[in-house]
Amino acid sequence: MELLLVLVLGLLYAAGVYLILRRSLVKLLLGIMLLGNGTNVLIFLLGKITKGSPPVIDESYKVFQDIYADPIPQALILTAIVISFALTSFAIVLLKRVYALVNSDDLDDLNTPEEEDL
């Protein structure tokens, strides 16, 4: 399971970085999303994955006796997902507006010359 997650994680980061380096706005957005998901998988991976051992203490014990699934990374991922959802939806609207104004998907066309400054 860990090995699979590590591979997925590497793939997500690599694909994300590759897409960010392209000139297209949409690919930039997709790259950012992939990187975000890669980060979430990383945090998930670092929370010591175990199967079927919830973080609930048995009544007869006072502290955990066995390895357990750490709930904190899941809380972190949940927060990160919500935040990246908000950022992504903002980014989509922004890119749509930019496309409507500039009529191009190419980042190189986003350079209003200095003479047009206020």
């Binding site: 990187l35 990383l42 950022l87 980014a91 922004l94 507006r97």
Partner: protein
């Protein structure tokens, strides 16, 4: 000491923003609420500062979870000083905004978002939990995205794309770093992390994790290879927004770097060399970028980059004296950089443009305002006894002690270029006659007196703050000395957060 008032500055901003949302589209009410809320925020910040200055570090455990397990808020002297300065800047900007921001932007929620931004800043300064710091960073960037794009001019949206992409990327690096740090130590509390990171056996892994933090905070604070988003976006939004961004946002990056690299990763030889190289390159590129710009706000954007390098260099030297310089420079920089962009906004009202080639004759037409602006420009350059001069003494002294001659050279070049650029700007904007007299578009002269006052008052207020920092440097040095000894010797911070005896 446990104290629930730590969060008061955050809550004042939050309530101001929420109450303003209830007065959606009633811009006049929102203006009053904004100025009132900022004023209350300033009073609360002053009170918090004086308490921390007298009683030492205050902490608050959210929902009464004990320190390493719950989220903890810590008000040490560095945090409250920055909260105080942010409040001063916020007060000034909110007065300026009531005239300097178009009604159209106010209708779409300029003021509530502005206060959410300030709330995020306060929260970032006060939190003692590294994931909470990330969350506040996100509050800051999502608010700043909205402020950046509000109005929707073409140049603004283009700047916003670059700004957005780089800042989301920075957050991603920061979050990756937090993930790795949690995997290494199993903790998110910064004081607890400070103890646990030292016990980690694998030094390489700690080094790699710290690189993620350098990258993330480096993009936020706009250091050498990562700063390109800043000069290509800060000249686009209205000047009131640019003032908030230029004065405060990059400084959060510096604050986070100071905090993380003093508490969690104490810089080793490699990190220090890396930061020093970055610092010198940042100063030089920022300075040379500023020389070729003719638009005032583009010029100021490059000066921000240049002066960020001074602070990074101080962090790289990492000694008591160097950090004193950094903290003093941070205090000076927030007040001055905010003011610079407000001045750019005022110049635009006076002349209808911010291009130095088209400007001129301001001193002839408005001598009093020009003298006020000159005072701010002088303190930016660092002419004694104004505020920019004092921190440089500490930086120079420490650089000579540590024989960092490249940094000394970069500091000298950076300071001289700043002087040249500002002198050039003064000559072009204030002394030269305007190239085409008939085209001068003066929107300031026909304004009613109280509107004029509302534009000049915040600049005067921030100029007074700068003047105070410069002329009463001894008091600021005392504060900076206390802060830097807390940063070098983190045991007081760690004890204040983790000590069980605190619960009364």
């Amino acid at each position: 000491m446990i104290d629930n008032h730590i969060l008061a500055p955050v809550f004042v901003q939050l309530f101001t923003a929420v109450i303003q949302l209830m007065f959606w589209r009633k811009t006049l009410t929102q203006r009053y609420l904004s100025v009132g809320g900022s004023f209350i925020g300033l009073l609360v910040a002053i009170r918090l500062f004086s308490r921390v200055y007298q009683d030492g570090i205050l902490t608050m455990n959210a929902a009464n979870w004990d320190a390493p397990f719950g989220i903890v808020f810590v008000a040490d002297l560095l945090s409250v000083t920055l909260v105080l300065l942010t409040s001063i800047a916020c007060f000034a900007v909110s007065i300026f905004s009531s005239i300097g921001v178009s009604r159209q932007r106010m209708l779409y929620g300029y003021f509530p978002i502005f206060h959410f931004l300030i709330m995020g800043l306060h929260g970032a300064f006060l939190t003692g939990d590294i994931f909470n710091l990330y969350v506040y960073f996100e509050v800051i960037i999502i608010s700043s995205f909205v402020l950046m794009t509000l109005g929707g001019r073409k140049a603004q949206l283009e700047g916003a794309v670059k700004y957005m992409a780089m800042n989301i990327l920075a957050s991603m690096f920061f979050l990756t770093g937090i993930g790795l740090l949690y995997g290494l130590t199993g903790s998110l509390n910064m004081a607890d992390l400070a103890l646990k990171v030292r016990q980690v056996q694998d030094g390489t892994l700690v080094g790699i994790t710290s690189c993620f933090f350098i990258l993330g905070f480096g993009i936020k604070s706009a250091v050498f290879p990562l700063y390109y988003w800043l000069p290509s976006s800060y000249h686009t939004p209205p000047s009131a927004v640019a003032a908030t961004f230029g004065g405060l946002l990059t400084k959060v990056g510096i604050y986070a770097m100071l905090r993380v690299f003093s508490l969690i990763f104490v810089p080793d030889e490699f990190t220090r060399t890396l930061l020093m190289v970055i610092a010198c390159a940042t100063i030089l590129t920022g300075a040379f970028g500023a020389i070729i710009k003719t638009n005032i706000r583009r010029l100021f954007s490059y000066l921000i980059v240049c002066h960020i390098g001074f602070m990074i260099g101080g962090i790289a030297m990492f000694s008591k004296l160097a950090l004193m310089g950094v903290v003093f420079y941070l205090i000076h920089d927030i007040a001055v950089k905010t003011n610079m962009f407000l001045i750019a906004g005022l110049i635009r009202q006076l002349r209808g443009t911010m291009d130095m080639d088209k400007l001129g004759g301001l001193y002839r037409d408005y001598p009093k305002i020009s003298v006020l602006i000159a005072l701010v420009l002088f303190s930016l350059v660092g002419i004694p006894p104004l505020s920019g001069f004092w921190p440089k003494i500490f930086l120079f002294q420490e650089a000579f002690l540590q024989t960092q001659y490249f940094f000394v050279a970069a500091l000298i070049v950076g300071s001289f270029v700043t002087l040249y650029v500002i002198a050039n700007m003064w000559a072009q904007v204030f002394w030269k006659n305007p190239p085409r007299e008939e085209e001068v578009d003066d929107r300031f002269a026909p304004m009613q007196p109280y509107r004029k006052l509302l534009m000049v008052l915040p600049i005067g207020m921030l100029a007074l703050t700068t003047l105070y920092i410069g002329l009463n440097a001894e008091a600021i040095v005392l504060v900076a000395e206390k802060i830097s000894s807390q940063l070098i010797d983190t045991s007081t911070y760690i004890e204040a957060v983790l000590n069980k005896n605190n619960e009364l």
